[in-house]
Subunit: 404 residues, 2 copies
Amino acid sequence: MQLISGGVTAPKGFTAAGMHCGIRNNQSKKDLALLYSEVPCQAAAVYTQNKVYGAPITVTRTNIADGMAQAMICNSGNANTCNADGVEKAEKMCQLAADALGLQPTDIIVASTGVIGMTLDITPIAAGIPKLAPTLSKEGHADAVEAIMTTDTKPKEEAYTTTVGGKTVTIGAMAKGSGMIHPNMATMLGFLTTDCAITAPMLQKALKLAVDDTFNMVSVDGDTSTNDMVSIMANGLAENPIIDKEGADFDAFLAVVKEICTSMAKQIAGDGEGATKLVECHVTNAPSIPLAKAIAKSVITSNLTKAAMFGADANWGRILCAIGYTEGDFAVDTIAVTISSQKGSIDVCKNGAGVAFDEDKAKEILLQEEIHIDIDMQQGDAQATAWGCDLTYDYVKINGDYRT
Amino acid sequence: MQLISGGVTAPKGFTAAGMHCGIRNNQSKKDLALLYSEVPCQAAAVYTQNKVYGAPITVTRTNIADGMAQAMICNSGNANTCNADGVEKAEKMCQLAADALGLQPTDIIVASTGVIGMTLDITPIAAGIPKLAPTLSKEGHADAVEAIMTTDTKPKEEAYTTTVGGKTVTIGAMAKGSGMIHPNMATMLGFLTTDCAITAPMLQKALKLAVDDTFNMVSVDGDTSTNDMVSIMANGLAENPIIDKEGADFDAFLAVVKEICTSMAKQIAGDGEGATKLVECHVTNAPSIPLAKAIAKSVITSNLTKAAMFGADANWGRILCAIGYTEGDFAVDTIAVTISSQKGSIDVCKNGAGVAFDEDKAKEILLQEEIHIDIDMQQGDAQATAWGCDLTYDYVKINGDYRT
């Protein structure tokens, strides 16, 4: 597979657009994104597991129950969640997009991100969509990805090509974080597009497999959002033999889906609210994959470990502590921990106990922007990776008064 | 029952002392506490459920396996955890205390709190204990409670009297927080003393019942520490008929244990690292007690809710979000949320959706030092209360470079 430039419009047949329609007061912040395929797509999605979930989740679930979609509309600035008229408003967004694109409302994936529990004003969206649709273009991916951002500081998009059944298949993605992000399903918004020919069930399978190891292994703050989902639309324009079962073609497609989801996951973690660094925790030789995942997540979710990462403090006892309160049966007296970055690597713990290390070297390693925590459990052969970020003053600042 | 002045030395026969022995560099910070009963005590304790636990936990568990103890030694500044020679050092602390007091090492409860994974230097403790023991006194409770503090800003101690079997029984307690505090058993250090006559099994039962609803319902940062425990010593000097079964006497004793544990729990939550306010979450009409507890804990543990409390922002959507990701089966469309403080009360959510409220009034309410979040699930009759604090710049500051 190959990384190429672009995002969701890189695959054949997809166009996108983004604008400021007026949901947000800040006129320089785009707040409405539209994504469109010139032909109908097979569609799949995974959703938040929070029992409190947004109206757009309800509506999207219904709309793609038939495995089909052709466009996606997403606003930022308001989550349209915990509102008595939420479903009605989400359906209205689909109707407006369908009218502008000559589609049926059930062809639309709808998403919202922003404040929970504030009534969504449909007026700016109703006024915006008819202006937005005519601006759909190949270059529009950059505007679309900007429009889905909330407290994200960087747009997150990427595209890859790979070969499936002798044909070049392209996949694109855009995603947004960056608070209320915690592993428990599609912990943010991610929109994937591809021109691969694949059936909806296989598309759902590939997405689920990829998300479990990527988006679901990200935590910014331990809070699983009410609204987040990852969707994928596949329009088949690459003209590969349609993937309708497992095998070499499915594996090739799955590999590129995983690659792009991994990249989005790391970008989301590194751009967590207030974050100054990306923390990757890799657990090896664990008794089982679920336990390896749980331990990796526990470490990157620990506020104390996150604060230590912010302070570039090699306080590895907090890592051991976070491992120790992970639910499940495992031994702790075999655990080895290594901390590394581009500045080198140090062993800080062996057999569950501290080892002497050079504090200056540790500081140098931890002052980098990407930190790796490697945990060798030495009691099995399962492994897992999770991604998080540090806990900073800015996280508190951003979340101490988000609504103002 | 009646609140009286004093702490762990309020019950008959107990004396205490505290000093700076040199585990910490800061000479003005006491770091060694001793607590003594003039007669042997029935003893009970509950311990952290973290699989990584401190050597003092191992040693205390062994020492009070016979249900007896007569003294307690505790240092701050070093947790004596994840050290290869940890148990040996913890046993040495018991030996030193026993020698100074004319007891057996197995009569001693030992505890440590501070940095994990740093070898404990026994030298200052060995030099300190022989000086500390002769200073044991009724007034010593104030020095002892200071000596167990780490990042606590306030000493936490209290005493009550009640009547058991026609006799006045006194109970005293001291506790420390204030980071790495999360509900999963004895989430900090708490030392209780009483002159009540009670058997060790009934003492253990009372302590466990009280801790489950108090210390275990506190969270400062979601991190369950490796070292924390709550112990109780009962020396019987109140001369009440010994409590050896359930009944009116046990109930009277349990009530006062619960009262003092509740007070300690609230003091710990309110003095969480960097905290500016105490947040109490009361869940009512839930389907079951475990679920009521889980929901209450989920809300007070949510970083986003905690940051909103710091910002005095009535962002109740985050409360709904935290309720929603609690594991278990329950409906969300019946939930009502009320926020209150001494400045009044406002309903922010009914039937799972927002209701209009006065933002200025909400701000005024949330600017107080003790905030109550009342969640009416309207689907059962179980209730629970949890205590937490806000997430602040100072939490990040304290934990970003704790070791320096």
